[in-house]
Symmetry: C2
Subunit: 324 residues, 2 copies
Amino acid sequence: MKIGILGYGNLGRGVELSVKNNPDVELVAVFTRRNPDSVKIQTPNIPVVSANDAENWVGKIDVMILCGGSATDLPVQTPKFAEMFNVIDSFDTHAKIPEHFANVDVAAKNSNHVAIISVGWDPGLFSLARAYFNAVLPNGHDYTFWGKGVSQGHSDAIRRIKGVKNAKQYTVPIDAALDAVRSGVNPNLTTRQKHLRECYVVLEEGADAAEVEREIKTMPNYFADYDTTVNFISEDELLKNHAGLAHGGFVIRTGQTSAENKHVIEFSLKLDSNPEFTTNVLVAYARAAYRLNGEGKSGCMTAFDIAPAYLSPLDGATLRKTLL
Amino acid sequence: MKIGILGYGNLGRGVELSVKNNPDVELVAVFTRRNPDSVKIQTPNIPVVSANDAENWVGKIDVMILCGGSATDLPVQTPKFAEMFNVIDSFDTHAKIPEHFANVDVAAKNSNHVAIISVGWDPGLFSLARAYFNAVLPNGHDYTFWGKGVSQGHSDAIRRIKGVKNAKQYTVPIDAALDAVRSGVNPNLTTRQKHLRECYVVLEEGADAAEVEREIKTMPNYFADYDTTVNFISEDELLKNHAGLAHGGFVIRTGQTSAENKHVIEFSLKLDSNPEFTTNVLVAYARAAYRLNGEGKSGCMTAFDIAPAYLSPLDGATLRKTLL
């Protein structure tokens, strides 16, 4: 399978790395909106080309993996590139998924391509866990916890405060809440009871620390509903101790099959690198897109629409023999 | 969806219960190899009929859920009933799955039915976990732990020993092994390091306890490779404290996406009732079989071949909106 990468940030670099773990995958080219000469990639002898020249690569790339952001890149890129290629994206603005799905579906159907959107771990593997768990334990409750890991959105929100030079925000699941869920009592948990927010903030010269802390802790939606801790540190310390991209989380469903019998189903991830793991998921779904398109399928799909066998490099008989 | 149940033991009763949790499912009839008059079911006004009369129900049942055992029932029943109905089974003799698949596939294809085999939690949900985890983290190691729960096969093995009146055997995963796996060090674990075997044994009058204990602990394959504890108890105590059908387990995959970054993926189940949970999984796959057959599909499939959306009573748009 020949893949292309569109966008060479953390995700693009992750896809490039994941090719080494997937012998059936070959990287053909990296596409960028920057000046291609300014983008240095890790793999020797692979061209970096302008995203504007992508149409010249039609027929040379089986699946294009879109590594842009959900806010402004993917809503434009995914429908556009689905006209030329089978595509995979990691669109993660949950509220806008229906609209994104509809736009991509039109483009992919018109051009007979497969587009798989919202791939990664949430949305992605966590969505799969929720769907499977709901189907096999219909009478129950779902709980999703995130972390410990960096929330880019919350870090950005802190950085927009006057007097803040840099910041990292960790979302931390609260053990007591996890324990209560696992006990099967189906607790009604408030936002505050599920997650803590830990902030590491570098101030501008002369900034008012107390005022910055107050602004963070009272920020609606982002922090006001949580127990939030604010730690002021030096920029050196931030870069040294808080540069990591670790993340993870838990999907738990508890429920009953009869008056007497309760069950707990749990899926969890503990990731040293959020982008590296996410991109390995993207590559597995690229394999599915390529195969499905080879079977004549087209249109927009999500992880819900893909049978697991399509993700594996193994054939059906080998899968049944070794993993069933 | 109209379902039939073949075989009214623990699994058959579980399917009957699960109908209450799945409003789109209607139980039409229970089929038995016993005298139908001798089988009392829980649901009023549902006929219990002879398994020999099943062919009279063709066209009246969308999916037949086969609740027999893997040793001798399902190898015969699944191909036979796949000639008349869409069928689901929980065939769990891992080594014989390829042969069973081939036999069922011929029958189902010839008669244009869908047959989904080896559904439940292992094989079933645990198989899915292994397949997804391998696909998204190709460079890693899988570990499956079972328990704490009753192993029917090991309990039977003890009951065959001279002087044993009754027995229950629990398979218990060893915490130290689970912790080592979760730490990401990819340990090579021996059989003895992964699971303990706890036996509760009721002796016949005058039996030699020391000899029974020796026979259990030295039994090849079943116990000799494990740390095994043997507790002699009264039959009253066995019936009172060890009648439960709780079970569970863990599938863990650890691996790396680069030299620096490790990841841990974990799926676990903690079940009060193994048969009640298993049968809810069977019913979800019955929904899939019915829909796939409605789309013109036929032949034998496993959980690997079924897109998760087919298991859910929700339509695609609702799934994307609520669970993605």
